[in-house]
């Protein structure tokens, strides 16, 4: 059951001199109910922008240029008793609701999106520990979140639920009366997770959930996210630059670069049957703790600035496998499996299958073996400094 369907989404940031930064370009993927989906990439690849745009938390100069964000849920005022959108809403073209009941979040305005936030989609921002208000008790902050989004609850009920939530994430319910500075770093992170789950959302967006944490605490937070998913059945969208974290918690993922999705599909497919030069390069540059003899290879050059990008594949400058076709247009998402079996590149129709944006997806064997050699990467001439 699809929970979130991102359709050809493009997000831009307006900068001076009438230029626009193409932060996210023509991105499509989908998240099912109860699954953990990862967006992985380096800084500037657009993953955080993508995540923020789901609940319209973009900076003032950011806007959705085209595309849709279909979500399986709708505004309270458009619902009937069963929680589905009413018939007349669906029929009426003025409302951004589709035949199958999904709502286009990108088409909602500011007041409307507020009803979706927290109730249906909650976000755990980066450095979440700093998002707790220092002058209010932690328990009160959770209670307030509940009351704001479910106004029919009584204060006592909300308080009870807050304590219960804290306990579920491993904090003594008594600590609800403490202030944020009395919590340790890991506990703050857990409290923020509890706050995010306060209204039982369908989707949890975790933006770099483990950065700035010590490794042992990071371990517990990852476990916490897993437990939350088991208990509440919530879907999680994880944003991170750390592929080892992704390897652990995600079911499916998308690798982003320069505002585009380079490869997407099931986690195992991406790691074991890697089908994109960027992903291959990324894998090579991560040391693993398990291997004693490794050969790390870095990708020379720097990520693009995304200001009025040129035509052609975004990774072309740094890719050792670039051919002429790569200069004319950014490759569409080809279906990997069919490329492997039939030897021909065919565009992917199913958003959930293993897809890769590479014109040479029919030569995967060659790409995979060559990518392991250091010379392949270091011997290219990089034009950009």
């Amino acid at each position: 059951m699809t929970l979130l369907e991102v359709n050809d989404l493009s997000i831009r940031y307006r900068v001076d001199d009438d230029e626009a930064v193409h932060a996210v370009d023509d991105v499509s993927f989908s998240i099912e109910r109860g699954e953990t989906y990862g967006l992985v990439g380096e800084s500037g690849c657009g993953k955080t922008t993508m995540a923020k745009s789901v609940v319209d938390l973009l900076d003032a100069n950011g806007y959705v240029e085209s595309g849709e964000l279909w979500f399986d849920g709708t505004l309270p005022e458009w619902e009937d008793e069963r929680g589905e959108p009413r018939r007349e809403i669906i029929e009426d073209d003025r409302y951004p609701v589709r035949e199958d009941g999904m709502t286009d979040l990108a088409a909602l305005d500011e007041t409307q999106i507020r009803d979706v936030r927290w109730r249906d989609i909650a976000i755990i921002p980066q450095s979440a520990m700093n998002s707790l208000n220092p002058v209010y008790k932690v328990g009160d902050q959770i209670t307030e979140a509940i009351l704001r989004h479910e106004p029919e609850t009584t204060k006592a009920e909300a308080d009870e639920r807050a304590r219960d939530l804290l306990e579920r994430v491993g904090i003594e319910p008594d600590r609800a009366d403490d202030y944020a500075h009395q919590f340790s770093g890991g506990m703050k992170q857990r409290a923020v997770i509890a706050m995010a789950m306060a209204c039982n959302p369908d989707l949890l967006i975790a933006d770099e959930p483990t950065t700035a944490l010590d490794v042992i605490i990071q371990d517990r937070i990852l476990e916490e996210l897993e437990n939350i998913q088991e208990e509440f059945g919530v879907s999680i969208l994880v944003i991170s630059h750390d592929i080892s974290v992704m390897a652990e918690i995600c079911d499916r993922m998308a690798v982003m670069y320069g505002g585009k999705v380079m490869e997407s599909g099931r986690k195992d497919d991406i790691f074991e049957e890697t089908a994109n030069p960027y992903t291959l390069g990324l894998k090579n540059s991560f040391p693993t703790i398990t291997q004693s003899e490794q050969q790390l290879v870095s990708i020379p050059g720097t990520p693009p600035t995304l200001r009025e990008p040129e035509a052609g594949c975004r990774f072309r400058d740094r890719c050792p496998f670039a051919v002429e076709a790569c200069a004319s247009e950014h490759p569409p998402m080809y279906d990997v499996e069919s490329a492997e079996t039939s030897g021909r590149a065919r565009e992917a129709t199913d958003r959930r299958s293993h897809r890769s944006a590479c014109h040479r997806v029919d030569e995967l064997e060659l790409l995979r073996t060559e990518a392991l050699q250091e010379d392949t990467w270091t011997e290219q001439t990089i034009e950009s400094r």
């Binding site: 008594d174 010590d214 042992i216 371990d219 390897a247 250091e374």
Partner: protein, 458 residues
């Protein structure tokens, strides 16, 4: 430690401690309070041989950065001695100090901060040359700078020489920092988290560069990082630090595959890994790193340790002791009260004990009841406690309900003692490395006092 070389070690650190905030304000002195310094580095000893690549790993607050700065003489040790090539660095003549400054260099963590924004790349890299009186004249210096820039991969060097730092990317800046360190042809380089602020795809390039330069320039490295996979990739030997103590040191491969110290084991378990994916075993440790200002007594790691040693004469299981000890800690911290149990059983001491004996560890280390109740309580009958210990726990719970937390804490303190809390373990050789843990110095259960020279702590 491996001492296969007959030559003298390059760097010898002996019982070095560094304390901060030793002085105090007027008010505190008047009120008769003792100063409470931060023991950033506490009684650390190790040696580095020529050509080694040694790593220092640990989480925040463990003192690794302070240790790095001690080695380059940015700080002076409060206690202990540091010897570089035989010379004690704290009592050097001016000439020796000049030599030291040329032979020992440092690479800093933040590429954006470690370059002076008002100096060009040439200025920055040539500065050590000027300070050490190397090079005859401007042209010679410029040539040397050009050479070293080419060595670190910033080619063509001419393009970079006159740029200012804000024109360069993070990876380029870090390479300039490396060039600056290498331009005087040093022997020993301390690298403090050199890649942690760089993009992930750039990191490997800088690391590989450092490896290559080690051969070219005949360098010895001390590599400081919190990223254990990096340590494994770069370093032959490593030391693990926790709250200022060096808890284990030895060959990196052995540390990873067969960790002796419980903290080392937890640390390496906790690292996510692409190969292991979701099969990874989680870290068996409770709680978080406490503040270095108030470290735990005895072995600093004991409140979190999975292998805490029960006292002599403990008839129950080690796990039960661990739980009981955690109970004691919770009471001491004031975390257990009448509100900890459900409303329906508000007065039942058994319920409080069942709740307090839970362990804040990953699911795979919890008992079945714990997992079922979401970490809320254990099955008291299944915990293998000696009967008198159980009674002490129940009595303490009753005291808590009666409002007398102090006597509960006192009783628990008396009953549940451990050598890990009372005595600080000294580093001892075990299986080719040095480990500071009572498990390896004869302090195990049932052993008599065979500890030699282990210092007592208050």
């Amino acid at each position: 430690m491996d001492r296969t070389d007959d030559r003298e070690p390059l760097v010898e650190v002996e019982n070095v401690s560094k304390l901060f905030d030793m002085s105090q304000g007027v008010v505190d002195t008047v009120l008769g309070r003792d100063p409470n310094p931060v023991r950033a580095v506490d009684d650390v000893s190790f040696t580095i041989e020529r050509g080694d690549v040694v790593g220092i790993a640990g989480e925040s607050g463990c003192g690794k950065t302070t240790l790095g700065k001690l080695l380059v003489q940015l700080y002076e040790p409060t206690e202990g001695s540091i010897r570089f090539d035989g010379t004690d660095v704290t009592s050097m003549t001016t000439a020796q100090e000049r030599e030291f400054r040329q032979r020992v260099q440092m690479i800093f963590q933040d590429p954006f901060e470690s370059l002076n924004p008002r100096m060009t790349v040439y200025d920055t890299v040539a500065e050590p040359l000027k300070l050490n009186d190397i090079g005859e004249g401007y042209d010679d210096r410029r040539e040397r700078v050009r050479d070293v820039l080419n060595d670190v991969g910033l080619a063509p060097a001419e393009v970079y020489l006159d740029s200012f730092p804000d024109e360069l990317s993070g990876g380029e800046r870090q390479r300039v920092a490396i060039a600056r360190a290498l331009v005087v042809d040093p022997d020993f380089v301390v690298a403090d988290e050199p890649v942690s602020m760089l993009d992930v795809s750039i990191r490997a390039g800088v690391l590989n560069l450092m490896k290559r330069l080690q051969d070219e320039y005949d360098l010895t490295y001390l590599f400081i990082s919190h990223d254990l996979s990096l340590i494994r990739y770069m370093c032959d030997r490593a030391g693990i630090m926790y709250l200022g103590n060096m808890v284990e040191q030895g060959r990196t491969d052995e540390l990873v595959e067969d960790p002796k110290h419980p903290y080392t084991e937890a640390l390496f378990d906790a690292v996510p890994d692409v190969e292991l994916g979701d099969e990874r075993r989680r870290a068996n440790a409770t709680g978080e790193v406490p503040s270095p200002r108030n470290p735990p007594s005895g072995c600093r790691y004991h409140p979190r340790c999975a292998h805490i040693i029960p006292p002599d004469g403990w008839t129950g299981s080690q796990e039960a002791f661990r739980r009981a000890f955690q109970f004691k800690l919770k009471v001491r911290r004031g975390e257990l009260g009448p509100g900890s149990v459900d409303e329906g059983v508000a007065d039942d001491p058994e319920e409080l004990v069942a709740h307090g004996l839970t362990l804040d560890v990953p699911d795979e280390y919890q008992s079945r009841t714990e997992v079922e109740t979401g970490g809320h309580r254990v099955d008291l009958s299944a915990v293998d406690l000696p009967p008198d210990a159980r009674q002490v726990l129940l009595d303490a719970a009753q005291s808590i309900f009666d409002g007398d937390v102090e006597s509960a804490a006192a009783a628990l303190d008396e009953r549940f003692t451990t050598v890990c809390e009372s005595d600080r373990p000294a580093p001892r050789p075990a299986d080719g490395r040095d480990v500071a843990c009572h498990l390896y110095d004869g302090g195990g259960p049932g052993a008599t006092d065979s500890r030699v020279g282990a210092p007592t702590d208050d």
